[in-house]
């Protein structure tokens, strides 16, 4: 099966809506599971990994929600395909480095994704647009309950689900949300927020997860502890913290518009200026400027422009997605030129940002989403 033909076009996935999606880009619940009588993937020999793959893969393919799914082994995906999956947040970087003995099953709407033989025998995730942690947990829990009838999981009554790394032991759950926080970054409040979130035992990571930087003002917040707390307690704890971060971000945006409107207009105007006029631009710069444009759209500074335009460009301007549209191998310099051409073209119908008198109440904040 061809992965390119399978994946949802970026224009479509950028239009998906969810609660609080102007700040919460997506919600995710991931479970780690292992089979009882097999070594973990990092220690197992290739033959054993293949044996595990051949047990798990058909069990997943037979789930009712995996009808019309994409299912394949990692050695049959090209480097470009794997990179595209990473850019879409469907697989981890670690999984992209895997080959024979590892696999992937992805459902039709990309909301359910199963990585076989990543760090654990099975890593499965449910992904929802906006803030929908409970829904993501419900989906994942249901699929897991069907799978446990076919697969004998490694489970101890005392320690719960046994995982390769003791940091995932117990529930094996990671609940996370991807947040767009340009207001807190511009108001220089992001570091104290990160620190206090860390103190609550939650991790804050960059765009592509562990050990990556927060490109485009996008941050991932997730639980770290997995043992000694129920799944739903973890979901609830995260929900509480996220509600507060959302409030802080909204407040930061409102107060920036009220107290430092020129600074906001300057950042957003320059971002638009560069994106709409450059002839060579790196992926990193594009992300950071698109983030400011997204903020501008949220603030009503680009009347008539939908957020999905920016979100689509977020996906399309990443290196592997650019490469996919061209048959010849592009160098980083080539990509910068093509990326600039694409962004200029897409922003042609977008007029330059308007400014509003700072006195106007609300500053175009979208109250209906709250």
């Amino acid at each position: 099966m061809d992965l390119n033909g399978f994946l949802i076009p970026p224009a479509e996935s950028a239009r998906r809506k969810g609660p609080h999606d102007r700040i919460v880009m997506s919600s995710r619940v991931r479970l780690a599971r292992n089979l009882k009588d097999a070594a973990f993937p990092g220690w197992a020999k290739k033959a054993e990994r293949i044996r595990v793959l051949e047990i798990i893969q058909p069990a997943i393919e037979n789930l009712p929600e995996m009808k019309d799914a994409f299912s394949g082994t990692m050695d049959r995906l090209s480097t470009l395909d794997k990179q595209i999956l990473v850019e879409r947040h469907l697989i981890s970087r670690e999984h992209a480095a895997k080959s024979a003995g590892s696999g992937l099953v992805l459902n039709r709407d990309e909301a359910l994704c199963f990585m076989i033989n990543e760090e654990d025998h099975l890593r499965m995730q449910a992904l929802c647009p906006g803030l929908q942690l409970r829904r993501a947990w419900g989906t994942m829990d249901a699929a897991d309950s069907v799978l446990e009838k076919k697969l004998t999981y490694a489970f101890s009554p005392d320690l719960g689900y046994l995982t390769a790394c003791p940091t995932n032991l117990g529930t094996g759950i990671r609940v996370s949300a991807m947040l767009h926080l340009p207001g807190l970054v511009l108001a220089e409040q992001i570091n104290p927020i990160i620190q206090s979130v860390n103190k609550l035992g939650l991790a804050v990571r960059g765009l592509y997860g562990e050990g990556t930087e927060a490109l485009g003002n996008v941050f991932q917040v997730s639980n770290q502890m997995t043992l000694g707390e129920t799944e739903i307690a973890i979901v609830e704890r995260l929900e509480k913290v996220l509600a507060q971060i959302i409030e802080h971000e909204e407040n930061a945006r409102a107060s920036l518009l009220e107290k430092k409107p020129k600074m906001v207009y300057n950042h957003i105007g320059r971002a638009y200026g560069i994106l709409a006029n450059s002839h060579s631009i790196s992926s990193k710069e594009t992300m950071n400027l698109l983030s400011l444009m997204r903020l501008g759209v949220d603030m009503g500074l680009f009347p008539g422009v939908d957020r999905s335009l920016v979100d689509e460009l977020f996906i399309l301007t990443q290196p592997a997605h650019l490469q996919r549209q061209h048959s010849e191998k592009l160098s980083a310099e080539d990509r910068d030129l093509i990326r600039a051409d694409m962004v200029r073209e897409r922003l042609r119908p977008v007029g330059r940002p308007v400014t509003r008198p700072p006195a106007e109440p609300g500053g175009g904040l979208d109250k209906s989403a709250m």
């Binding site: 220690w43 489970f155 005392d158 390769a164 529930t171 043992l227």
Partner: protein, 169 residues
């Protein structure tokens, strides 16, 4: 750079150790490193990175420094220290002791309270029921209510048999 022990061969093993606020650097050639017992020339313990600083030390100290080895998969304490991950599900029993302290610092509790696979849930319910019945039996005996005690004894017998059945299948 020459090896700081034999001062002859090129140093290929570079160790940096930070203890307290002191940093020590040692550069060794491969031979001297072996004879000095630096059995882990990559020198870097992933356990510290993955499980938090000091984790590798904790893994080493627990179990009296004895070289534990998993009977199911052959994973050793040294492997654990190096990788910061375990070899197989049985390793959780093998390395129970070095893990105990780690889990305490890493997690909210040391006992699982979340989801339990349905097939095991029944067994867990039975064992809870058994504890409950045994408590009632002790109380009945204490109160010299032997009629009640006899009923409870039979019920415990049945429950034990059922529990044995579910774990066997």
């Amino acid at each position: 750079m020459l090896c700081c022990i034999c001062k002859e061969k090129e140093a290929t093993v570079h160790l940096t150790q930070i203890a307290g606020d002191k940093m020590q650097k040692v550069d060794l050639c491969e031979e001297c490193a072996k004879t000095k017992g630096v059995n882990d020339p990559t020198g870097f313990s992933l356990a510290d990175l993955l499980l938090g600083l000091g984790a590798s030390q904790e893994i080493e100290q627990a179990g009296g420094g004895a070289g534990l080895k998993c009977p199911a998969c052959g994973f050793t304490q040294a492997d654990f220290k190096k990788a910061g991950r375990l070899g197989c599900p049985v390793c959780y029993q093998t390395f129970a002791e070095p893990l105990e302290g780690l889990l305490k610092t890493m997690h909210k509790g040391t006992r699982h309270v979340g989801k339990v696979p349905a097939s095991l849930r029944q067994g867990r319910d039975l064992s809870d029921r058994l504890t409950h019945l045994q408590k009632k039996l002790a109380k009945a005996i204490e109160e010299e209510d032997f009629e009640e005690a006899a009923i409870l004894r039979d019920e415990i017998k049945q429950t034990t048999a059922r529990a044995a059945n579910t774990t066997a299948t």
